[in-house]
């Protein structure tokens, strides 16, 4: 208790965050009970008819549910891998630059897109890949046929993953750059004396130094394996790419808010949460084992 007294102001600073957490994350959890009911807004969550697992059974009967889960998984895993790999490569390349001013300039520019919302980014993406967009103009200059990229289900996932990496890689590289500053410069000097070239130094010094960070970030992102990015997909998709682009979150949105199937939407949302919860547990175990990382 005495310690608590000393740290009172810290707890005070924690308070707004805790209130936020209770209001927006803990309280709504009770609403999950709707997944087991035939929810009737007039009767509320306390008096609606109890239907057990009927909503889940129906959900898995729908053709959509399988493709939606599959899409979510592919897109999310793609984002996880490339959001780790590309920033890593970028950070190493940037680290090799000797012109400090140029380095800072590049760093600033590449992380700018991170601060734009997907509503704005979607317009830019369409400006690039739309029928009259930059890409098609270039294709046509070289005598090719313009293509309707945004309506092509075959490349929609790649487009989603690619644009997300483009938006985030600058920002994601910050952690790697921070880790790189802590590498002992003596190691490079020693290597130089031993006659190692830049490539060998990267391979033998830089990469091993970053390995803990890579493992940690990789493992922690496992909890996001079913978060394929509602904002992004919602702003970019259209009925032509539902087959490859529809993800759990957009599906839940359409079921719940557009088709008023509240219980079915809750069931789908809860299903996602349960899977994510298991993955977070696993990732926490792995993080502890491989990176010696603990929260509690």
């Amino acid at each position: 208790m005495k310690r608590m007294g000393i740290q009172k102001h810290y707890y005070l600073m924690l308070l707004p965050g805790m209130v936020w957490l209770v209001m927006f994350s803990i309280v709504p959890m009770f609403g999950a009970v709707m997944a087991f009911q035939n929810y009737n807004p007039g009767q509320g969550i306390f008096h609606s008819e109890w239907v057990g697992l009927a909503n889940f059974k129906y959900m898995f009967q729908l053709n959509d549910s399988k493709s939606v889960i599959f899409n979510t998984f592919i897109i999310a895993v793609g984002k996880m891998v490339f959001n780790l790999l590309i920033p890593l490569i970028f950070a190493i390349l940037l680290n090799e630059l000797t012109n400090l001013r140029y380095k800072k300039l590049v760093q600033t520019f590449v992380y700018l897109p991170h601060f734009l919302s997907w509503v704005i980014m979607a317009t830019i993406v369409i400006g690039i890949f739309g029928y009259y967009g930059v890409t098609n103009t270039v294709v046509q200059t070289f005598g090719g046929q313009p293509k309707l990229f945004m309506a092509d289900a075959g490349i929609f996932r790649q487009l989603i993953i690619g644009t997300d990496v483009w938006k985030e890689f600058g920002y994601n590289a910050i952690i790697f750059l921070a880790a790189l500053t802590s590498v002992n410069l003596n190691l490079y000097e020693a290597a130089a004396i031993d006659g190692a070239n830049r490539w060998q130094m990267i391979w033998n010094i830089t990469l091993p130094a970053l390995s803990t960070t890579v493992v940690l970030l990789g493992v922690l992102s496992l909890g996001n394996v079913l978060n394929a990015g509602f904002d992004q997909v919602y702003n970019l998709y259209n009925p032509l790419v539902y087959s490859t682009g529809d993800i759990l979150d957009t599906w839940v949105y359409r079921l719940g808010l557009q088709n008023l199937q509240f219980s079915l939407a809750t069931a789908a949302g809860l299903f996602k949460s349960v899977i994510s919860f298991v993955l977070i547990l696993i990732s926490y175990r792995l993080a502890y084992r491989f990176a010696d990382y603990t929260v509690f």
Partner: protein, 522 residues
């Protein structure tokens, strides 16, 4: 009672849709304090309290959906989808206004309701009780016609296209001659938020759809068609629909249809940019619907015509009476319900007298009621005024069923110049652009429906969801949207249509068809 003033102020809490692009509200005024709220306060002692606002479109839908899901409705709100009304009603959230409406409706409202032969009342009711105020819109909102650039036709010395074959040739000629610049679009199509055809749930105002093309092939996709022998067919799964899709796919392949169809943000863009030669939609799409096209090119001579079958017939699917509803919360006090009914009467009576430089959308709980044939009536009568056969004062009849007639009759001569026999854009004065848009839509856009009889009118057996649809329709509709668009864009072959029909039937379509057929027996 229909226009009585409350002795004590009555507070009415509302949820309100706002148009974020609106610039007509004077400085200092707000959603809860403007000329319309002051009017209802002054005349009827009603205080409007706006609980929440949301932008038109998906934002507003989402807000409505959330307020229904939480069982927490404001006293009044206007929703634009019948499923919101039925969901709220089946959850017991709505006030039963059956008796109060009978007592408080004005004679005008009564006449307008009667002009639908009971269809409006049925539309606003759930299980025999009146639980919402319906909007009643003109029938012509559901009659989709062809809009074509007459000035382009004249330049190329082409006749007005009548059949599908003509349309194909015309679109090709527009593109070949680059009438709208290098990016000329022969035929505009739906955006990513609109649909290739109107459906039984959204049976009107489908700007940029292909409805008349389907009609010219005797196909009525999205409609429950009565076969006349006690059975019902869903129009999308017929051979005629398949045939039309094959034709559209062929046109798309030939580059006659907007290459960005189905992915554009906004249907109106290529039309307003004057890149487009032909598009389809109801009477108001030219004038009201494409104002910027005229601003960009005052000589854009848009004209409206039906599309005919090869043997010269005009087929059209027809709309339901209306598709927006004023919902009144079950928790509202009787005085509040009365206030909402009075506000509706007042809007119907006084809309034509308001100073419309402030958009009438700011009127609290505005839900339009108009006689089903108002537009055709106005077309005929305005032509008489122009030709001097009648005088504007002849229409000065308070409480008329045709509430806008008198004010339009006074305006028409300043907007339209002689000669009156063959109206073109050059006959119109655009100085008061709002008046121009209305007159253009009325006199050009509604000319086909006012003067040419439709050979085959097709009504849907139902315009509402059946019980099985509540769970299964979303899935079937998604399948339909995907298949149709993919076929048109050539991403799926026309043969995939047969598989779609099979899947559609087995995944609940047959069950729903039987339910709809059951409605016929009633």
């Amino acid at each position: 009672m229909a226009f009585s003033k409350f002795p004590q102020p009555v507070d009415v809490h509302i949820g309100m849709v706002v148009d974020p692009t609106d610039k007509t509200l004077p400085k200092g005024d707000s959603v809860s304090n403007n000329q319309y709220t002051r009017y209802v306060k002054e005349k009827y002692n009603i205080n409007i309290i706006v609980d929440w606002t949301a932008a038109t479109g998906n934002d507003y839908k989402q807000k409505v959906s959330l307020s229904i899901a939480s069982g927490n409705l404001p006293d009044g709100m206007v929703v634009d989808d019948r499923s919101f009304m039925t969901k709220a009603a089946s959850s017991g959230l709505l006030y039963d206004i059956t008796d109060l409406f009978q007592q408080y409706q004005s004679s005008q409202v009564k006449d307008i309701m009667a002009s639908t032969q009971g269809r409006a009342l049925e539309n606003a009711s759930y299980k025999g009780k009146m639980v919402s105020l319906p909007n009643i819109t003109v029938d012509t909102d559901g009659v989709h016609i062809m809009w074509v650039r007459k000035d382009w036709l004249d330049k190329l010395k082409l006749p007005v296209p009548k059949t599908l074959g003509d349309i194909e040739k015309t679109a090709k000629a527009f593109i070949d001659n680059k009438m709208g610049g290098p990016k000329t679009i022969g035929i505009a199509g739906p955006s990513k938020n609109t649909f290739p055809y109107a459906t039984f749930l959204n049976s009107s105002n489908n700007m940029g759809g292909f409805d008349p093309i389907f009609g010219a092939n005797d196909a009525y996709p999205g409609y429950w068609v009565d076969n006349g022998d006690g059975t019902v067919t869903y129009g999308t799964i017929t051979d005629n629909t398949k045939k039309t899709l094959a034709l559209l796919a062929d046109w798309y392949k030939k580059g006659l249809i907007d290459p960005e169809v189905g992915t554009r943000d906004n249907v109106g863009d290529p039309i307003n940019a004057n890149q487009t030669g032909i598009f389809f939609g109801p009477w108001w799409n030219g004038g009201y619907g494409n104002g910027d096209s005229f601003k960009n090119d005052p000589t854009a001579n848009w004209h409206a015509y039906p599309v005919y079958t090869t043997d010269g017939k005009w087929n059209s699917h027809m709309k339901t009476t209306g598709s927006t509803y004023t919902l009144i919360s079950k928790k509202a006090k009787p005085d509040v319900v009365k206030a909402i009914l009075i506000m509706n009467n007042a809007l119907v009576r006084d809309e034509a007298t308001f100073d419309l430089s402030v958009a009438v959308g700011w009127y609290p709980l505005r839900n339009v009621m108009a006689a089903a044939n108002e537009t055709e009536y106005e077309y005929t009568e305005l032509l008489k005024v122009l030709k001097g056969e009648t005088k504007p004062e002849d229409y000065n009849k308070p409480n008329s069923l045709y509430k806008l007639m008198y004010s339009d009759a006074k305006k028409v001569q300043t907007v339209i110049k002689a000669p009156y026999d063959n109206l073109n854009v050059s006959n119109f004065d655009m100085k008061n652009f709002g008046d121009f848009q209305r007159m253009y839509s009325l006199m050009i856009g509604d000319a086909p429906f006012s003067t040419i009889p439709i050979d085959k009118k097709v009504y849907s057996v139902t315009y509402n969801q059946t019980p099985t649809m509540e769970t299964k329709w979303a899935n079937l509709k998604k399948m339909e949207d995907e298949t149709v668009l993919k076929i048109i864009l050539g991403q799926a072959s026309i043969d995939s249509f047969d598989k779609f029909v099979k899947d559609w039937k087995s995944q609940g379509g047959d069950e729903i068809t039987a339910e709809v057929a059951g409605l016929l027996k009633k």
